[in-house]
């Protein structure tokens, strides 16, 4: 399971180090140091995953993530020195699937990258129905009636995880583990942001969600409350 990884980072030393680590794990890294050139490089290299530093010269990481997300659902993992909620939420809302706060361990990075790449591997033919939403798991598509809803792979995974066991309440920790593949406690803000993004796409009225419902004090579940 080799994959092409586009590293967007202006720090040459870090980029090189990332390259060493990724190569050591069998990935094919390619590098770009300027945010403006990141999109071109993305189009050229067609990576399976993007490692994106948030602080970049030129267009910053958030812009880059937004542009990439506009074109593709390829997993984006953000590298950030800022662990403030506002920065993370901003990054996640711009389209990133996951984030790693600097400094991180090489193993952690590899684990995240693997987790993002892994999910695309095993497609199971399956049709899920939740509310008026139809999910074709194998076809990777979500429809409300005839209307197709574009979801990122992560969002799709989140929706599928919830939809597979309707009415079961998932804590954020469980969701993190199932969707993001984290073993240990991590940032539940990831879940919150992505649930919101998902709701924005699939709910008729995001203010009064009917498909992904919050269970106060516990977590989320699919289906009407």
């Amino acid at each position: 399971m080799k994959g092409r990884v586009l590293v967007v980072d202006d720090d040459a030393a870090l980029a090189e180090m990332l390259g060493i680590v990724l190569r050591g794990e069998g990935f094919e890294p390619s590098f770009v140091s300027d945010g403006d050139k990141a999109l071109d490089a993305f189009r050229d290299t067609r990576p399976d995953l993007v490692l994106l530093d948030l602080m970049l010269p030129g267009a910053d990481g958030i812009d880059v993530a937004r542009r990439i997300r506009a074109e593709s659902g390829v997993p984006i993992v953000m590298l950030t020195a800022k662990s403030d909620t506002i920065d993370i939420v901003l990054g996640l809302e711009s389209g990133a699937d996951d984030y790693i706060v600097k400094p991180f361990k090489p193993k952690e990075l590899v684990a995240r990258v693997r987790a993002r790449l892994r999910r695309t591997d095993e497609p199971t033919p399956e049709i899920l129905q939740i509310g008026d939403i139809t999910i074709d798991v194998a076809g990777h598509s979500v429809k409300r009636g005839e209307e197709t809803i574009n979801l990122t792979p992560l969002e799709f995974d989140l929706l599928v995880a919830l939809a597979r066991k309707p009415r079961q309440v998932f804590t954020r920790e469980v969701l993190l583990e199932q969707v993001w593949g984290y073993r240990h406690a991590a940032d539940t803000r990831l879940v919150n942001v992505h649930v919101q993004r998902l709701r924005a796409k699939i709910e008729r009225d995001p203010e009064h969600p009917e498909i992904v419902v919050t269970v106060r004090g516990v977590g989320y579940k699919a289906g009407p409350a």
Partner: protein
Amino acid sequence: MPPPKTKRFRRRTLRQILGGVRRRARRAAGTVRRVWRRSLQLQVVTSTLVISVTVVVVLGVFLSDQINKSVITGRQDAAAGEAFADRVQIADALNQELDDQAKPASGKNAPADPLDAVMETITGSGDDGSKKRYEVLVLNPASPGRSRASGNVMPANVPEPLQQWLHRQVEKIPNDKPYLHKAYIKFTGESQSRLTLVIGGLVSVDGGATYEVYHFFPFSEEEQMLSNVRLAIVVVGFGLVLLLAAIASLVTRQVVSPVRLARQAAERLASGKLDERLRVRGEDDLARLAASFNEMAGNLALKIHQLEELSQVQRQFVSDVSHELRTPLTTVRMAADLLYDAREDFEPMAARSAELMQAQLERFESMLADLLEISRYDAGAATLDLDSVDVRDVVLRAIGDSEALAERHNTRFELRLPNEPCMAEVDNRRVERILRNLLFNAIEHGEGKDVVVTVGADRDAVAVAVRDHGIGLKPGEETLVFDRFWRADPSRARTIGGTGLGLAISREDATLHGGWLQAWGQPGEGTQFRLTLPRDAGADLKGSPLPLVPPEIEMRRTWRGQMTPVLLPATGDGAGHDED
């Protein structure tokens, strides 16, 4: 037994009434005191009243005394003069009588007796005499028919002391000094006694006879006048005092109302409304005060703004530095990891170096994280991510996180959890961090003994107490433990390698929730940290469901009869509210 019941009821009612009265009086006194302390106007008016009353009383007494003196003495002098003239006349007439005894009365109507003649002149009872204002009594008790009086004066009207004085005077040189006596005398045929000045004098005739001559001057008019004057003085003085008080009230009001406005403006300024300004009207002192105030407020706002900017810049700098450090640190970290993983291929020295580098990098990293957290608090950038959670779960999770460390220190946790859920609106991540810090702290200082974790809840708050049985805290250290980079014993080595910021951050976290984080400790008895959080974030805490001092310590203390707890004020936040 109805009667006693009634009685008791009545007594209680009375006591209640008394109590109510006392309470009300105390309350009224308190109100008065407060009003007094708060009102400059009242103070000025009162002191003006007091001073003017004093001045008016002194002046009034002086004035009244002066008028009294001048009127009375004037009248007395005049009376004494008239009395003297009369006595001289009497003496002349009586002595003449001796000289020409045989001489017949000259006029047809003139009385034969010179005493009668002179009395007619003196009293004005002759044909052409005019009425005098005073009455005369001539008394010669030694000779028959030689006593005369005018008007309704009787010998009994002569005041006793005056008569005695005259009798004593008989032996001395007569016609000397007259004796003045003032008394209320009730004359015959009159219903009321009148204030009368009686002047007594002696007239001695060459023949040896001595006549007592008394003059009765009515003083009721003078007294009436003086009492009128006194009344006038009192009325004018009273009016003056009231007037002064009114003026003082007016003047202070003129001064106080702008000052009051300034105070209100200052209060608003103090509460953060830096735009507050006073209206400047005119050019008097108060207007200049207002102008100065406005200038001060302006400068203050400018300074605060500058400081804010400065602080913003500094915080930004700290934040930026922390962030900028991270990227190289990441590289270093990754490189170190690679080296660490490959250390078996190195020479022993290089391998050890890699290990050391790895460990210190981790410490460096967590320190950096804590620093960043602290700087976030300093910048006021920390926000709560509230969620309704069962605190028991949080505790259990924190214990789970700490178990590995506990095992390493051979420490066991003793959990005392309530059966029902302890729901509270908290920031899960922060509370967990607080508990983790407390647990790490307890393990580190617990010397391997059991760490007791208690959870309590009441209607308003939930509390978690973490108790170790380590060396405890010295008096005064209960607050110091929350200081940044504070160490209980600088010589002691750090075993876990905390950053020294953990408790400080925990304290900030608790405060952010509107909760308390307090410490108790006694040398040899161990330490207890208590976290109290309101069930609704931001609600005011009134007390904690758990005692700060462990119950067994408290019990022991009570047994010893030491009623004064050695409890020291725990922290700034909770000290005043701690009711345990």
